[in-house]
């Protein structure tokens, strides 16, 4: 059984999705599936990370709106809850949160460029490493300062 699909991509080059689905056990032609454009490569992992960080940010957002809504209840209620955000464990959680947001932001801009920039799909792989680089720079700027704020108060 072979599953072969060809389609013209937006960029104008033909994309062979020979390996969509489970690769067949016996196969005429090349022994290994020809190099996949997507699976197991930067395109796939950027997408996986985008989903995971997106879900994580969504659930934080639900909680964050509820805790901020406590300013409408009383100063004491808000301060009691926000105090739990200022503990060392939550301080590390905020590092993870900002890491997720920064990745989702930069990779989201990469997706916009892939969709709207004429050379976007050509440079999607390069842009993934630019995303990683910007993320590292962002975290280098944020993490030390944040951890000092968390652990010195």
């Amino acid at each position: 059984m072979t599953a072969t699909v060809s389609r013209k991509s937006q960029g104008g080059s033909f994309v062979s999705l020979k390996t969509a689905g489970t690769p067949p056990i016996t196969q005429s032609g090349p022994k290994r599936p020809a190099g996949t454009l997507y699976r197991g490569r930067e395109g796939m992992w950027s997408w996986v990370l985008h989903r995971i960080t997106g879900v994580a940010i969504f659930f934080f957002l639900l909680v964050h709106i509820l805790d901020t809504a406590l300013i409408r209840v009383s100063p004491e209620a808000y301060n009691a809850v926000i105090g739990t955000y200022q503990t060392p464990i939550m301080g590390l959680g905020e590092v993870a949160l900002v890491g997720a947001i920064a990745y989702h932001a930069y990779n989201g801009l990469r997706i916009v460029l892939i969709d709207f920039w004429s050379k976007g799909s050509k440079y999607q792989k390069v842009m993934f490493y630019v995303v990683i680089g910007l993320w590292v720079i962002t975290m280098l700027g944020f993490v030390p300062r944040h951890l000092i704020n968390v652990f010195s108060h």
């Binding site: 072969t4 957002l61 200022q86």
Partner: protein
């Protein structure tokens, strides 16, 4: 035997010929709101976590000081609406992708929709009805501009 696989992103139902193509506008919304949210959320994180003592300086007085200014009120409300609609539409995509059972999918999407509406209404009301100097609150818990009672 040859199996033909649909091209990626082939819709389950073709786009409607008449009326609004909601999936298209959802797709556009994710990108447009995403770009705006990068600015709004990075600004939010910078002001709340990087400036001054960061997270350890956040308390009722800090939020009261921020939300007494229309600038931050509108900043936060824009963030609230854009982020919740962006996030719940993203969660809807995940349910469409991973839910194998139509009933479960409908329940999950209904729950996402209801929680988004409730939180948008709640958050908007809080931002615009918030009093930074509630009567009878201890002076050391509220912003310094509050009149001392």
């Amino acid at each position: 035997m040859t199996t033909t696989i649909d091209a990626p992103r082939t819709p389950i139902r073709p786009a409607p010929k008449k009326g609004v193509n909601w999936e298209k506008w959802g797709w556009i919304y994710m990108r447009a709101s995403g770009v705006v949210l990068v600015v709004l959320i990075f600004g939010h994180l910078f002001v709340n976590l990087m400036v001054g003592d960061g997270v350890s300086a956040i308390d009722f007085a800090f939020v009261g000081g921020k939300l007494s200014s229309p600038f931050w009120q509108w900043w936060d409300v824009a963030m609230l609406w854009l982020a919740l609609i962006h996030g719940s539409n993203g969660m809807r995509t995940l349910v469409n992708d991973y839910s194998r059972n139509q009933t479960v999918g409908k329940i999950l999407k209904g729950a996402i929709f209801v929680s988004a509406v409730v939180l948008i209404v709640l958050g908007t009301l809080v931002v615009f009805t918030f009093d930074p100097c509630p009567a009878g609150a201890p002076a050391d818990l509220v912003a310094s501009f509050c009149p001392t009672s």
